[in-house]
Symmetry: C2
Subunit: 182 residues, 2 copies
DNA sequence: GGCGATTCGTTGATTACTCAACAAATCAAG
DNA sequence: CTTGATTTGTTGAGTAATCAACGAATCGCC
């Protein structure tokens, strides 16, 4: 990986953090580029050096999180669902500011479907309908069924203020997945 | 005040914070410029754009704190010592990382005398030896006496881990000063 | 619809920061 | 003392960020 000028990293970090924080105060559509610049303490023009507009910025933020989750999946490739879930949910907890606001905001639909897409992509290969308890079922159905379950549960977890402790929710969804997909 | 490029402010802020944090881990003399650069996440050369060397940097940090305390004094000019002390001790509390390490470190002597100097400068004009309970005493003696008392008390407060609540220590030193200097 | 006020996205000139490289100074052992 | 390794302080070329200014687009309101 070509090493990037640390000014770029710092600016992008500040900008992305600014958006995450601002999203807890107002809807994304009500956030102006100037708001972001102020909060990030960068010149307004700097934002345009990195992003087309604020929607492009949000897109890139989402993509980055999806990539991180993807990486976590691959580094946990040889674990059970239960073990792997700990890693995911810890990530959710660490970035709860972003995820909870994304899942509640008006643009949640796009985010939700992008998230579902990732879960299907990552969980899909694990599903086996040639033997075991899912033998004879249509693969797409099983995948869609449990991916939806995961996404819905994560969504519910955030909307209820993460009342269930992170390790518990990770463990229990893990048990349900292991029971049905392994 | 001519407005300063925000990059300068950000760099200096990062550098100064880096020093304060590093001072909690090792003695100032053991801290290298590279350490500071790493912690502040700036290029080593950037530090030299603003400071001659690390001692100049520490000097500037001390001066800045002294100026802030001076400003606080002047904005609290018409208060009693007790009221004014709240403001000072709140400042101490907010920057306890800096002050406590400064007062304990090896370079403490310089800092201590600089601090004493400020207290004398600010408290001095308040002392009246022409009437009241201090009538007939030598002004310099009274000033030196109570300035030393204040500095020593602050030093003790930090060294004991600030066990006495901020408002209590502020109130009680205030009482002692008001009783003797007003 | 029309009008004033924001916000947007872009521009150009300037400046601060980065990075790599350097010689000199300092340090730590053998 | 000598050697090798850090650390220091400086240099120059390249780059990202700043700031002020601009017309265009969008918004809120009468």
């Amino acid at each position: 990986m070509a090493k990037v000028d640390r000014r770029i990293l710092k600016s992008q970090e500040a900008i992305k953090n600014a958006v995450t924080e601002l999203m807890t105060q107002k809807r994304f559509d009500d956030i102006t580029i100037q708001d972001i610049a102020d909060k990030a303490n960068v010149n307004r023009g700097t934002i345009y050096l990195h992003y087309m507009d604020k929607y492009d910025l949000l897109d890139k933020m989402i993509e980055e999180h999806m990539n991180n989750l993807e990486d976590l999946c691959h580094s946990a490739a040889d674990m059970t669902f239960q073990e792997g879930n700990y890693v995911w949910f810890e990530y959710f907890e660490r970035h709860h500011l972003f995820f909870s606001t994304m899942l509640e905001s008006k643009g949640a639909h796009y985010f939700r479907s992008r998230f579902l897409e990732l879960v299907i992509q990552e969980y899909g290969p694990e599903v086996d309908t040639t033997e075991g308890e899912n033998e004879g079922l249509r693969k797409e159905v099983v995948i869609q069924f449990f991916a939806s379950a995961v996404v819905g549960t994560v969504e519910w977890w955030f909307k209820n203020g993460m009342h269930v402790p992170t390790d518990i929710i990770a463990e229990q969804t893990g048990i349900l997945l292991d029971r049905n997909l392994e």
